[in-house]
């Protein structure tokens, strides 16, 4: 009977094992790279969207409100919460004088790793719809600074512009990825 000798089998098993280990290692590394890059892409998309939405909202805002005027839910403007008074709009998308919707960007009250946006339209007047939207997940830090026109820090009600910075940190196995976005925007209606 023809067959393989023991050395041949041992060599073949060794080569197979080496090749398998290399392939598995390659697969693991590839998976790590995939998770890493996927996290970066996800963070980038979230930051693009959040920055754009915050920038446009600040530009359109009439003022920075010290708090959401209704008793519930309770939000107060501060270093981690931005509350904007946006002019309400009618069915023709025209501004309604002296009526305001409130736009809140803050950490999720239940999960501080989620950046959330709320829009509370003026009941019965504004044509905007109420919103409760996740802007980003894996939030590691959020900071709003309220500045006057010279760039000095002032109380929110006196601010002429808002400086914001958002940091996201995603854990990918033993590593973690961080990405950040920041901007300084003038209140055009203030």
């Amino acid at each position: 009977m023809k067959g393989f000798t023991l050395p041949e089998i041992l060599i073949a098993i060794t080569i197979s094992a080496l090749a398998g280990v290399l392939l598995i290692s390659f697969l693991v590394q590839n998976n790590g790279l995939f998770m890493n890059e996927n996290a970066k892409v996800s963070q980038g998309l979230s930051l693009n969207d959040a920055s754009s939405q915050i920038t446009n909202a600040v530009k359109s805002a009439s003022s920075i409100a010290t708090q959401y005027p209704q008793s519930s839910p309770q939000f107060f403007t501060g270093a981690e919460t931005l509350i904007l008074a946006l002019p309400s709009i009618d069915s023709q998308s025209q501004i309604i004088e002296n009526v305001y919707d409130y736009y809140v960007v803050t950490k999720d009250p239940q999960n501080p790793n989620i950046l959330r946006k709320y829009l509370f339209p003026s009941a019965g007047q504004s044509q905007r719809s109420s919103e409760n939207q996740v802007l980003a997940t894996n939030l590691s830090s959020l900071k709003f600074l309220y500045l006057d026109e010279s760039g000095s820090t002032v109380s929110p009600s006196q601010a002429a512009k808002v400086n914001f910075s958002i940091n996201l940190t995603t854990s990918t196995g033993i590593n973690s990825n961080s990405a950040s976005a920041s901007g300084e925007v003038n209140l055009k209606n203030n």
């Binding site: 980038g44 501004i95 002296n98 026109e149």
Partner: protein
């Protein structure tokens, strides 16, 4: 043998599986990266489209002012990264709507487009940020008088017999009535010093005037004698130390903002207050530095004394005061300025159940019931959030005095209204009840009979006194839409029982009664309202205003204000963004609150 044959190729199959997984994740990665790239491109294009649309708004305002309102828009103007189109819609006689759309890369086949709408009008934007703003004369409230809103005064507040402020109350550190250092020019030696643009190849963007205080004291405010060309934006004013005869960029003493709304096309002194009130030393040189950006059609002029009559300082200009090695160039002459220093202790004093439902901010607080927080240097007899101040976290001793606030309307604004009224012609004073009154200058007194109802165009300038007898009413012409109007009176204003002023009927429109009467010497009332006068805005920058029994107003600004039996001021949010028409002679500028990204 059979077993061996069946095992052949397993590694190959395994490699195929691994390679497939690798290929799959690689394709997924590339796909994600491409999505991210597209998203980033989209975001960038969107920002560029908004910037282009804003460029279109700027271009439209400049063109309307350059052509006396005869600009109708552009179908497409190409800029570096894209283009914009502009259309103009007339809303009423003095108000237009600009619709500007930005396109990237162009109007044909745009990858991104954004539209911005904004309303502009010939007039002056004014922000009344407090229900009551009072100058150095202070605020007296008695017998259930109430301010529904916040109060900011540069003088003392006295609250008696259950009078109440529902918002916050601020009393600034007292400002000395006269300037420590000042200089002005006299014709024919007055020249323009142009800045905020390139002049003959020089980027004259930052302008400075040095001074030497006569006393060691805190600096409260500065006044600069300015006029503007076009519609330049607010700029920053700083007090800097001195280094080798030029401003020292590393020694910023104080920073404040000049409000462009307070500056007009004619020269006038405009106040600038600072975020802090640092102490300046007698005999030491300091610099007032105006920090602007360059704009060839929207810029500034500072009145210059060609005779160099100020012996304690000199002016200079620079293209960038913050550069690593700023170059300061001498200006022949002296710039017109005033600097106010020192001050006196100010207070809020209450008696018999006087209440502040918000927070109280003053050097000294006495005998008050305060609902929120108390910020002070000295207190006696105050109750804060239900308890006295020992171990009370709502009490904040050692807080610096609030800084004085400038009045929301400048002398230059008033001069512009007077000039606009004079452009409508003039007539002698009247007594009776005309049905309508166009915008004009009235030489003498105006007295309206009982129950008179009159519609007016604005602005109106009355050189004498204005008397509204019982029940008389003045309304702004409905054609003014959302814009407000003003009646400027050189003398006093008396509004008898139930007399009222109304806006155009559109929400957000008001008719402002403004008295220029100076009560500071004789104490005579500049504006007096009796029972039932309501829903008005009153303004007397140098005068005393008194609201009698149950008068109910929207906003009051005065040098000194007295509210007695049951009178009230109820602030409305929209008062922070009023727009006063100046009639056909004014320049176009943005109406606050009308900017909208579509």
């Amino acid at each position: 043998m059979l077993t061996c044959l069946n095992e052949k190729g397993q590694l190959f199959i395994f490699s195929l599986i691994v390679m497939s997984l690798v290929a799959l994740t690689t394709v997924s990665l590339i796909s994600g990266a491409l999505t991210f790239k597209q998203n980033t491109n989209y975001s960038t294009n969107e920002v560029q489209a908004i910037n282009l649309a804003e460029a279109g708004i700027d271009k439209a305002v400049a063109s309307l002012n350059a052509t006396a309102g005869n600009y109708n828009g552009d179908s497409e103007i190409q800029l570096d990264t894209g283009s914009f189109s502009v259309s103009i819609t007339n809303i009423d006689a003095s108000t237009k709507k600009i619709t500007s759309t930005g396109y990237v890369p162009g109007k044909a086949n745009p990858k991104s487009q954004k539209t911005i709408e904004m309303q502009i009008s010939k007039g002056i934007g004014v922000s009344f940020n407090y229900g009551v703003q009072v100058g150095e004369g202070g605020l007296d409230m008695s017998n259930n008088a109430i301010v529904n809103g916040s109060v900011y005064t540069n003088g003392n507040i006295i609250l008696e017999n259950s009078s109440t402020i529902t918002g916050d109350a601020y009393v600034a550190g007292g400002t000395q009535p006269s300037a420590d250092q000042q200089h002005d020019c006299q014709d024919p030696n007055c020249l323009d010093f142009i800045f905020g643009k390139n002049v003959n190849g020089n980027n004259q963007l930052d302008v400075a005037q040095s001074f030497v205080p006569a006393q060691t004291a805190v600096v409260n405010k500065v006044s600069l004698k300015l006029k503007k060309f076009g519609s330049p934006p607010n700029f920053t004013v700083r007090i800097l130390g001195n280094s080798n005869g030029s401003p020292n960029k590393n020694d910023v003493k104080a920073t404040g903002t000049l409000s462009a709304n307070l500056v007009t096309l004619q020269y006038g002194f405009v106040d600038i207050v600072f975020n802090t009130t640092p102490s300046l030393s007698s005999g030491v040189t300091y610099w007032i530095v105006a920090d602007t950006s360059s704009n060839s059609s929207n810029y500034w002029a500072w009145h210059l004394d060609s005779l160099s009559g100020y012996s304690r300082g000199a002016p200079k200009w620079s293209s960038n005061w913050q550069s690593s090695n700023p170059v300061w160039n001498s200006i022949p002459g002296d710039l017109a300025f005033k600097i106010y220093m020192g001050g006196v202790s100010t207070y809020i004093s209450g008696s018999n159940n006087a209440r502040i439902n918000g927070s109280a901010h003053a050097n000294t607080l006495q005998n008050l019931i305060i609902s929120s927080h108390a910020y002070y240097q000295v207190q006696s007899g105050i109750t804060v959030n239900g308890s006295q101040c020992s171990n009370n976290p709502n009490c904040h001793p050692g807080t610096p005095d609030p800084v004085p606030q400038p009045m929301p309307i400048s002398d230059g604004n008033i001069q512009e209204w007077e000039a606009a009224a004079a452009a409508g012609g003039q007539q002698n004073g009247l007594s009776g009840c005309p049905s309508a009154l166009p915008s004009k200058k009235i030489i003498g007194n105006v007295s309206l009979t009982n129950g008179c109802q009159i519609t007016v165009d604005a602005p109106i300038h009355i050189t004498g006194n204005l008397l509204l007898n019982n029940g008389s009413k003045i309304s702004l012409n409905p054609q003014y839409g959302a814009a407000s109007g003003v009646i400027v009176v050189d003398g006093t204003i008396k509004m008898s029982n139930n007399s009222k002023l109304f806006g155009s009927g559109t929400p957000g429109s008001y008719l402002l009664a403004l008295s220029k009467y100076d009560s500071r010497q004789d104490g005579v009332l500049a504006i007096e309202t009796d029972n039932g006068s309501s829903s008005m805005i009153l303004y007397a920058p140098k005068g005393r205003i008194q609201l009698h029994n149950n008068a109910a107003l929207k906003e009051v600004t005065a040098w000194k204000l007295t509210l007695d039996n049951g009178s009230s001021v109820t602030y409305e949010t929209g008062l922070s963004g009023l727009f006063f028409s100046t009639g056909p002679g004014g320049t176009f500028s943005a109406i606050k609150g009308s900017y909208q990204i579509k």
